[in-house]
Amino acid sequence: MITINPCSAELPGALGETMPFLCDGAVITLQSAVGGSVLAIAIALPVGLMATSRHRGVRAAARVYMEFFRGTSVLVQLFWLFYAMPLLTGFQLDKLFAGILALGLNLGAYGSEVVRGAVRAVPRGQLEAAVALNLSPFQRMRYVVLPQAFVEMVPPMNNLLIELLKATSLLSAITVADLAYEGRLLVNSGSDQLIVFALLLAIYFLLSYLITLLMRFVEGRAARVVGRERPRRRAATAVEAAR
């Protein structure tokens, strides 16, 4: 069997010229997207929950973070983290790290809103039943509210993660050698524009479709947990029980 390495320089013509560089860029793009996603989700969960708190101060803190990072552009946040912060604090961040930080903080703010909405969407009766069964506030959240809210979170999170992937192209503005950066470099050094830009489209699309596939899998699992979509082998008994 012949396997073709899509990143090989042996590929014919313009592909061989450009793909090795684009692959390098794609790896950086993927790294920043994964790093940014992990950070965004790590921020979104606690901040989103804080936004549903009974305590006004906690809610306000979450609100300030969410509004600030949603309301300013990723690019400007990137400039602040990478160029302005060293001037203020004398501390220079690594550029990839600064990029991941900016993406995580920005998309984390959107993600918090998703988490807050999903927690709010769990019917009140669920929480009341949990109180009536004398579960502690933590247990109510952990075993009753969050598993149900999680299902609601997945589709909008899918959107956000795709947004995040595409926003990684902004990292080229602080000279991170991501996919968009490599593409522009190739064009500037004389590669065929049409081919390079077409390849960029294709690679970004592939990556985002990868995210969608992954999130669909997660969504299916989550839906099964709350019984929206029953495991196939039990579908028959469900019909029976409905009678």
């Binding site: 669920q126 009341e128 039943a129 069964l133 004398n134 075993y143 009753v144 149900q148 029953r230 029980a241």
Partner: protein
């Protein structure tokens, strides 16, 4: 067992309960009847600590629900106190409120395991006994969405009983059921009422059911008790015109 003293509950400008006094003895089964909005359900929700009183006090087994004594002052109860008093009380809801993210068995065992610290095997054994009692032994692994409304409500009753409450609150437990499923749930509750020494507080629009299970019926209107007495008296020779009008309307419906 349960004592309401001068309890007032307001939601904004709406007064739901007006200086309500009443008590329930241990093991007594009391049914609350009356038109919608007369405050019956609010009484159950106050007891379950789902709502807080605007003023007045509620005692359960001598313990105050809403306040704790700190030195000479009474301060609003904290979560720890609430969890202490909730131990004695269980509730079954109109909409069942089974947890959709757990199967039937876990719906019943979750709270005993998490809140009371019962070992899981022991909780499951108890749960299977309860499922047997509610006639759903074969549904332990089923998912709530695979059950009919009547079955779900029977699971919800088993779930409440698994916590071994002294007081059980029934909030219009058959109102959301299809007519043909009502009697199954009612028969189950009749059995539970007559074999246990559970204190029962029941809000219902089913007068026959109320007559069967209760020692005493309280007729509510506009946040106050307008009449009370044993079911035979309330249902056959009510003294108040308001009660007569209400019963007439309900029984002819």
């Amino acid at each position: 067992m349960i004592r309401f003293d001068q309890v007032v509950k307001r939601f904004g400008d709406v007064t739901v309960l007006r200086e309500l006094d009443f008590h329930v003895k241990p093991g007594e089964r009391v049914t609350l009847i009356g038109p919608s909005g007369s405050g019956k359900t609010t009484i159950l929700r106050l007891l379950m600590t789902l709502e807080r009183v605007t003023s007045g006090t509620i005692h359960v087994d001598g313990e105050c629900l809403s306040h704790v004594r700190r030195g000479d002052r009474k301060v609003p109860a904290d979560e720890r106190h609430l969890r202490q008093v909730r131990k004695k009380i269980g509730m079954v809801f109109q909409q069942f409120n089974l947890f959709p993210n757990m199967n039937v068995l876990r719906n019943i065992t979750e709270a005993p395991v998490r809140a009371l610290g019962v070992p899981r095997e022991q909780a499951e054994e108890k749960a299977r006994e309860l499922l047997d009692m509610v006639d759903l032994a074969d549904k332990a692994q089923a998912h709530p969405s695979q059950l009919s409304g009547g079955q779900q409500q029977r699971v919800a009753i088993a779930r409440a009983l698994a916590m071994e409450p002294e007081v059980l609150l029934l909030d219009e437990v058959t109102s959301a059921l299809d007519p043909e499923l009502v009697s199954g749930v009612q028969n189950l509750l009749r059995d539970i009422a007559h074999q246990g020494n559970l204190t029962l507080l029941c809000v219902t629009h089913e007068m026959n059911f109320a007559r069967d299970i209760s020692h005493r019926v309280l007729m509510f209107d506009q946040g106050q008790i307008v009449e009370e007495g044993p079911p035979e008296q309330i249902f056959t020779e009510p003294e108040q015109q308001r009660t007569r009008d209400f019963l007439q309307a309900v029984l002819n419906a």
